[in-house]
């Protein structure tokens, strides 16, 4: 960008020196010197200088009708203007480096393809024409495949990865890039097929293999998609960036999205229609359309909000578990059992915040499409290589959305909770209170699949490491695992955090598709603290000693019973561990 500006400035200095010189003497570049009267000179001088520094114009459709509310911007800059009712805009070019150069100005509005026009120092008044996005979705459209593996077969000039290389690698390594080829998902799906109707089972592909499922929403076999029916590994670029709207309801993935799967023009050089969060992307390769939905949680709700419908005339009372349920339509008066419920959890958190709260308005993308330490150094272009010079827009890192979609990684889990441990020692008993606070997640902890759970373990020992006997207090429930394995914690001092389902026979912790209701849900809401208490026996005559109390919070992807059933190795992440000394001795 800097190089571009420098070159343009140099050009203006060389070629336009005449105009600058004459402007200082009060002459317009278009008029010969002799035509100006002396009386007019001073006024003309300020007028020309002022015009050079005022960027103005109009945004219209091809027929010349004004487009109000369009976002007008110099690409890459943070600030933008909104056109008024007449489609007009005006901006002072206060930046010295913009005042003497040609400036490309863009405009974007939802439902329209972004457009742009050039403004030079002599003609700062411009017109930007926007074309309407065709209101059409072609079910026969062939979605472009960008998956790093399968694209070896398919890769062509129309591959997103050719320009967006960094985003492609980020996405390819993320879970979003592997939704089809996730062995655990496939194994769960096969188990599901044995226990419920095919129709119910086939909603899995609506999120996990959406390109295949888009041809037959709610009716696509995930195993077929996995075995080659869908060349994609995951949620493809061309799938996501063709989405036009998402209905916020309890259906799955492609059942509730509206797309614009169309090809503009013909041949390899026809621009690729792409929707996204940028209103300043204008080039020959992509027909980009600004869509604010891409930076809102509603977009993510396509797959992170759904529920399983109960049979006709069946229902449960969601208010018994979620007191706020009657305020939200997504609970559907208990005619559904929550499955992926993260969007609703986020919504309840946002609605609970006062207007001036710091996190008010924070969206899923603000956390899950944000920078992390392992992405450093920052990059400033969302395109790579030579494309940067020809079509790239230099951006501030704060307006770039890395595509790693990080979720339950160890560092995120660690930073999302806080443990508080307090103790009191009297008459042969060490009393302990443990607080677990969700300090940094905008949804419950844990969230997502109903199998995600957390285990809190609390122990006390003397200086030699000999444990104190647990006397009384909270214990890890049966679903914490009774098998005697190293990850079976049931009955130990501590607690379990999970959403527990129940079927019509009263069997708990059944898969959500077999559930009749939610029996309990003690997962921790944003900014909420869970308190639990424990008593340990201090050996006789050792009341004066100092003991060490340790609280450990563990994240688990699945319940032990399910792990055993599926033949999976338990996956655990220690979220936090804290050790204190009894009394006031520790920090």
């Amino acid at each position: 960008m800097l190089r571009k500006i420098s070159l343009t400035v140099a050009l203006i200095v060389l070629v336009g020196g005449f105009f600058v010189l004459n402007s200082e003497n009060g002459y317009s570049a278009k008029r010969p010197v002799g035509e100006q009267s002396q009386a007019q000179t001073p006024r003309k001088a300020s007028s020309v200088a002022a015009q050079r520094n005022i960027l103005s114009g109009m945004v219209t459709d091809p027929q010349g009708f004004a487009i109000a509310g369009a976002r007008v911007r110099i690409p890459g800059l943070d600030d933008f203007l909104l056109t008024d009712e007449l489609g007009m805009f005006q901006r002072l070019l206060v930046e010295p480096w913009l005042q003497h150069v040609e400036v490309f100005v863009t405009a974007g509005k939802e439902g329209w393809l972004n457009g742009g026009a050039r403004s030079n120092p002599l003609q700062r008044n411009i017109r930007i024409i926007l074309q309407k996005v065709p209101d059409f979705d072609d079910p026969l459209y062939q979605t472009m495949i960008t998956s790093p593996i399968s694209s070896r077969i398919q890769r062509s000039q129309r591959d997103c990865a050719n320009c967006h290389t960094t985003h492609m690698w980020e996405w390819g390594a993320s879970k979003m890039g592997k939704t089809v080829r996730n062995e655990r998902v496939l194994a769960s799906y096969k188990k599901l097929q044995k226990t419920i109707s095919t129709r119910q089972a086939n909603t899995c592909a609506d999120c996990h293999a959406p390109i295949a499922a888009q041809k037959a929403p709610g009716q696509t076999d995930l195993a077929w998609a996995f075995s080659g029916g869908n060349l994609s590994n995951g949620i493809e670029c061309d799938f996501c960036h063709k989405i036009r709207d998402v209905q916020v309801d309890n259906r799955s993935g492609v059942q509730k999205i509206e797309s614009n799967r169309i090809t503009l023009g013909r041949g390899m050089m026809s621009p690729i229609l792409v929707s996204g969060p940028y209103d300043d992307t204008v080039n020959m390769v992509m027909a980009a359309s600004y869509n604010p939905l891409y930076s809102k949680s509603e977009f993510c709700s396509a797959c992170h909000q759904n529920a399983v419908s109960l049979p006709e005339n069946s229902s449960w009372d969601p208010n018994s578990i979620y007191p706020e349920a009657d305020q939200y339509p997504l609970y559907e008066d208990g005619q559904v059992v929550p499955d992926q419920w993260t969007y609703q959890e986020w919504l309840e958190w946002q609605n609970s915040l006062p207007e001036n709260a710091e996190n008010k308005g924070q969206q899923c993308q603000d956390c899950h499409m944000n920078w992390t330490k392992n992405m450093m150094p920052y990059y400033r272009y969302v395109v790579s290589g030579n494309v940067r010079r020809s079509m790239g827009t230099e951006r501030s890192p704060k307006s770039i959305y890395p595509h790693k979609f990080e979720g339950a990684t160890p560092s995120r889990l660690t930073g999302s909770v806080n443990l508080q441990v307090q103790s009191m020692q009297e008459e042969g008993t060490l009393s302990v209170q443990v607080g677990v606070t969700n300090v940094n997640a905008g949804h419950r902890l844990p969230t997502g699949e109903h199998s995600r759970n957390m285990i809190l373990l609390v122990s006390a020992e003397d200086e030699d490491g000999s444990p104190l006997d647990f006397q009384d207090g909270s214990v890890v429930p049966a679903w914490g695992g009774f098998g005697g394995g190293k990850t079976d914690y049931a009955g130990l001092a501590g607690k379990g955090f999970a959403r527990i389902t129940v079927d019509g026979n009263g069997t708990i912790n059944v898969p959500v598709w077999q559930a009749a209701a939610i029996q309990s849900d003690n997962r921790i809401k944003p900014a909420q603290t869970d308190l639990s208490e424990y008593k340990f026996k201090v050996p006789e005559g050792r009341d004066e000693e100092i003991f060490f109390i340790t609280a450990t919070l563990i994240y688990r992807k699945s319940f032990p019973e399910n792990d055993a059933d599926m033949g999976w190795e338990p996956e655990e992440i220690i979220m936090k561990e804290k050790t204190i000394e009894s009394g006031d001795g520790g920090l």
């Binding site: 560092s411 940094n440 200086e463």
Partner: protein, 195 residues
């Protein structure tokens, strides 16, 4: 076994006292790779007195999505300057002890916070959940942060008997007794406790 370790360590502390300089405790904490990633804070517990505050505020910087340093030990009453030197906006908050939220601000701005209560403050950013650091506020000026190899040195310690304790975000250490002579260096070898 554990008792034997403690006795050995205490003996070592006493025997190693030399007369080269006044009031220095130096030594090494065992911890391997974990100490390279995250230093430990070695401090003398239960030392009473009116201590002078540091003349200059220590800084906790934010750069490349990281709090720098990862562990900052300060004396209670000290004001820490939180600086954002990154290209994106950062927040500074802690859910520990005094609980504070200094807000969110862009590059180049600084916000101060004064620690009045002893404790470990988990330092977080609510814009970037994976960012984490620790401020360890101590009622004593006698503390040190270990280097990557676990070495530390606490200087200017008055003559007397002290309890040497260690805080680390993951490791647990055996506390020790150090007898500091009127003039001299006390060597200490700090060992991990338990598993």
């Amino acid at each position: 076994m554990m008792l034997k370790k403690i006795i050995c360590s205490s003996l070592l502390l006493m025997l190693a006292a030399a007369s080269a300089q006044a009031g220095i405790i130096r030594g090494k904490a065992e911890g391997g790779k974990l100490l390279k990633k995250s230093p430990a804070v070695v401090y003398l517990a239960d030392v009473k007195g009116d201590f002078i505050q540091p003349a200059q505020n220590p800084t906790m910087d934010q750069r490349n999505m990281t709090f720098i340093p990862h562990v900052l030990a300060v004396q209670t009453g000290t004001t820490v300057d939180f600086l954002n030197n990154d290209e994106v906006r950062h927040n500074v908050f802690s859910p520990s002890k005094e609980k504070y939220n200094l807000g969110t601000w862009p590059r180049g701005e600084v916000k101060p916070y004064t620690y009045t209560e002893q404790g470990v403050y988990n330092q977080l950013c609510n814009v970037h959940p994976e960012m984490e650091a620790f401020v360890v506020a101590l009622d004593t000026p006698y503390f040190a942060t270990t280097d990557a190899d676990g070495n530390f040195e606490i200087s200017g310690v008055p003559e007397g008997e002290y309890t040497v304790k260690v805080w680390h975000e993951k490791l647990k250490f055996i506390k020790q007794t150090a007898v500091v002579p009127e003039n001299g260096i006390v060597e200490a070898s700090l060992q991990k406790r338990g598993r």
